[in-house]
Symmetry: C2
Amino acid sequence: MADIVPPPPNGSLMLAWQVKNKHVLVVGAGDVALSRVDHLLQANAKITVVTGESVHPILRKYHEMGLLEDLIVRNFRLSDLKLYEPKNIRQRVMELDHDSDEDNDDGEIAALSEEAVKLIEEFEQCKFKMVLTCINDYPLSLRIWQKCKGLGIDVNLADKPANCDFYFGSVYRQGPLQIMISTNGKSPRLCNRIKTKMLIPMFEVLDLESAVENLGYLRFQLQKVYHPGDDTKVIKERMEWNRKITDFYSIQDWCVMKHESIDKILKLYPEFPSADTLK
Amino acid sequence: MADIVPPPPNGSLMLAWQVKNKHVLVVGAGDVALSRVDHLLQANAKITVVTGESVHPILRKYHEMGLLEDLIVRNFRLSDLKLYEPKNIRQRVMELDHDSDEDNDDGEIAALSEEAVKLIEEFEQCKFKMVLTCINDYPLSLRIWQKCKGLGIDVNLADKPANCDFYFGSVYRQGPLQIMISTNGKSPRLCNRIKTKMLIPMFEVLDLESAVENLGYLRFQLQKVYHPGDDTKVIKERMEWNRKITDFYSIQDWCVMKHESIDKILKLYPEFPSADTLK
């Protein structure tokens, strides 16, 4: 235990955020807003843009194509932060919290009523999950940040790192594979260069989308046909074999493998194939 | 405008989350909890671990080393989700929100009092920014999720993607540079392989920490000495030159450059150096 070296600090927490079908608000409609919307479209967010200024033609086009939840061209109002919340839903959820605030003396945690759970799920669907301001009006941006903090909404104020719950980075994507490069705000341009000069040349010659699909097929067949079952032991065995078989072939192999070859590999389960199986 | 191709959907929103000096709660203390804590330590979070089970020896060691805010070994209580919130602060912030709920008729958005802003900032510091459950008790995890949704806290339940605001990925790090690889939950093992077999061999021969430091020095000197000023035109000129000079040299060049060479480049501002400046 003497040689425990904790991870070095002063980085970011790199995360793949899930905003599929969740409301996200973008304030402003210029170049930065367009870049934010492009990120959000990749994650299937329900995007609402509020802007009092002129609208980027591509954002307007996105709206015409039905890609935005809404494009509202008028001055921002603080009440926009609860745009899709039915009247009183927030208060009702808060009161729910208050009711269940005390843990039982015996350490048991009481379950919520079905009605209460539904209310929480409804609230989760109607509230904004995040708010991104992309405007030059810092006092307004800051006022939005303040209100969001009270409402429990994550915020990014463009160009104001101190008021950002999260930063964007350079992202390379190929189907389900996504790679984000960040220098923790220190050199966004270098991130872009690393993406362009190092990642793209290395990854564009590979069909990683097929590799992911192939590994998904392998896992699915293993679970449904070759080693089904839900108990902990079986799940553990599957995970172990999956891990080892993924490492058994090269990334390049997985990119070009056919389902017939995967079927052959599966038939050997729980053994591992000989090195020349794919030849 | 006919050829606008929106970004492909069905991915994640890749983000660098900022939890420096913010409270984060980890429920559980096994292998998964340790992995979460390692991610969080990289981002300087104030980590509290609550666990009724046995504690991973490395987590115990981390606590002894003073790396954790707290390690609480007892059954989880719902009130733990407000562990660091002074009594009534949440309610006072909510009431604040209620007071300022209406926008003025003339479209002006009223500023908050200094006292109110302080209260919001205090709340932001004392509330949990995120909660990560790493336990086998799904009903309890789900109950924690429900309460967090009411409290405006982001949540990740290990192994329950449907209840996760975010996923973790494989992360390669070199100083301030961080690269996250994700397949959107489809093949974590492939992410690990891509990191090990593709990214590490390519990046370990480069001193990217120096590249980031060098570009930071260049930017700082440009702003303080060679082209100071705060007006929009000057900032734009600096950004433009910065962008172009970053691209002028290769990533490899920036990794090995000396400050004397950077000073030479800066003296040429706003010109660009000839191709053999570094020779």
